[in-house]
């Protein structure tokens, strides 16, 4: 009699995959010149660097405030514009509402927007529209459409078709079916995605400045180049405070809206 296979056993394929993964990690580590000495000296360097951050520079509040203000503006404007564009793109890309060619177009647009990290698209937009916050806004709009557009489309594909059927039966037009049958079913999830994206755009907007696309990132990068580590500390502390406050506010909003 053939014995039963061992429950929860590892197949040969599983073992092979695990061995391959471990081998790849070992090979990569070996090729990157990672050594114990470098790690040790790294600790020392880091400690020195942190030491030079104190006391924090508090005399450049104007420069700090300018950067922060711009960062917030980039985040809020990019989120608003990106969400506005995500809604039609999401509808276009949803398989249950959109005919196949349009759906392909929508999904392709979303994939293209997702392909590049916001910092890379910021570099492209700086080349296109020049230095400044406009490039940052455009970069984050693209990121928002890529991320929220996909979430919108997936959420729309998961709605119940039953109310849709009932509304078609009343003679409602496609637009009215979307307005009354589709949107109420996804509204709360949309609000959830939107608040999440605002949070995410706040983080990203502190970074696009590094490549010249406006915001506090520019000041941060300049301070690094000038070895003004005390100002770097002030900027980082402010950014962290903003992200934390932003998250608290967003969570409060989500709670208030029950999403």
């Amino acid at each position: 009699m053939k014995p039963f296979p061992k429950p929860f056993g590892w197949s040969a394929g599983h073992k092979l995959a695990l061995a391959a993964m471990l081998a790849y990690c070992a090979w990569s580590l070996a090729g990157m010149d990672v050594s114990a000495e470098r790690l040790a000296s790294g600790w020392e360097q880091g400690a020195k660097f942190i030491g030079r951050m104190f006391p924090p520079e508090l005399g450049k509040m104007d420069e700090l405030w300018q950067g922060i203000k711009e960062t917030l503006q980039i985040a809020v404007l990019a989120t608003a514009l990106g969400l506005l564009l995500s809604l039609p793109v999401g509808l276009l890309a949803a398989a249950n509402l959109s005919p196949a060619p349009l759906r392909m177009a929508g999904r392709t647009l979303i994939a293209a927007c997702r392909a590049l990290h916001p910092v890379i698209s910021a570099i492209l937009f700086v080349k296109a529209v020049g230095f400044g916050p406009l490039a940052g806004i455009l970069a984050l709009v693209v990121a928002t459409v890529g991320f929220v557009g996909k979430l919108f489309a997936d959420a729309i594909e998961e709605i119940s078709p039953k109310p849709i059927e009932a509304m078609r039966a009343t003679g409602a037009s496609f637009a009215n079916v979307v307005l009354f049958g589709v949107l109420p079913q996804v509204a709360s999830r949309f609000v959830g995605f939107s608040t999440y994206q605002l949070d995410s755009n706040l983080r990203n907007s502190t970074m696009v400045g590094i490549v010249g696309a406006g915001g506090i990132g520019g000041a941060l990068f300049a301070a690094f180049l000038r070895y003004e580590y005390s100002f770097v500390f002030t900027i980082l502390a402010t950014v962290i405070a903003i992200i934390v406050v932003g998250e608290i506010v967003v969570n409060a909003v989500r709670k208030a809206l029950d999403v």
Binding site: K162, M167, T170, S173, V177
Partner: protein, 256 residues
């Protein structure tokens, strides 16, 4: 007369060569409750759904008399189809309400066929429609629930909302696809009575798919028995014999 329905040689094939409806001829006019009975999978739902074109028939005619015109539902497309659908009310087995909208909002969706997208976007319904929706909620016994969300209601209450939504269309004919199959026996009776009552009051025909033969017998003015995609009985409930039921459903043990 408005609302009269003449179905001629209606065929529906979901797969070519395997018809679900095999040339149905059926005329429904005047007022009264017509119950369609028959085993599962015999095409009762398909028949009802062909009438308002939630399902597209393969061939045949579905002539519907609307105020001032006669249309063939089987042929209509696009806007003409949507205009005709406005006159056909439909009630569903699982109510098909928008759970997150209020009872009132769900009832008002019965008017969506008359609303431009711009007004729908602004949720701007005619004041007369809102008033009529309130009256209808009173009629179906849910006046106190107008502001509640649909997902807070019981099954029977939801079906009443579904009926109010269909009546909101001021339909020329009322269809119901197994309106009682998800409900308990007492509620089922109430729902069927409500459908019949409203049909009589409005002078429109009501067509109902139903699994419960006893319920159909008690409240129908006419019973249509279907099996294998054919109509095998068409007449008043009191002439429906066990022999007919045997032809419709097969077997005998369940009749004893």
């Amino acid at each position: 007369m408005s609302g009269a329905l003449h179905i001629e040689r209606l065929v529906k094939e979901y797969r070519p060569g395997a018809p679900v409806l095999k040339s149905i001829d059926l005329a429904v006019e005047g007022t009264g409750l017509t119950s369609i009975i028959g085993p599962s999978g015999t095409g009762k739902s398909t028949l009802i759904r062909c009438i308002n074109r939630l399902v597209a028939p393969t061939s045949g005619r579905i002539l519907l008399d609307l105020p001032g015109e006669r249309v063939d539902m089987a042929q209509l497309q696009g806007q003409a189809l949507r205009r005709a659908r406005r006159h056909i009310g439909m009630v569903f087995q699982e109510y098909n309400l928008v759970e997150r909208l209020t009872v009132m909002e769900n009832v008002l969706t019965g008017r969506l066929g008359y609303l431009s997208a711009w007004r729908a976007w602004r949720r701007k319904f005619d004041p007369e429609d809102v008033e009529r929706a309130h009256e209808l909620l009173g009629t179906v016994g849910l006046a106190a629930f107008a502001g509640q969300r649909a997902d807070a209601l019981s099954g029977g209450q939801r079906q009443r909302v579904g009926i109010a939504r269909a009546l909101m269309q001021q339909p020329a004919v009322l269809l119901a696809d197994e309106p009682t199959s998800s409900l308990d026996p007492k509620t089922s009776v109430e729902i069927i009575q409500l459908l019949r009552e409203q049909g009589v009051q409005r002078g429109i025909p009501v067509m109902v798919n139903i699994h419960d033969v006893d319920l159909a017998r008690r409240y129908s003015d006419r019973i249509v028995g279907m099996t294998g995609g054919h109509v095998v009985y068409d007449g008043p409930p009191d002439r429906l014999t066990d022999e007919h039921l045997h032809t419709i459903y097969g077997g005998t043990a369940w009749l004893e």
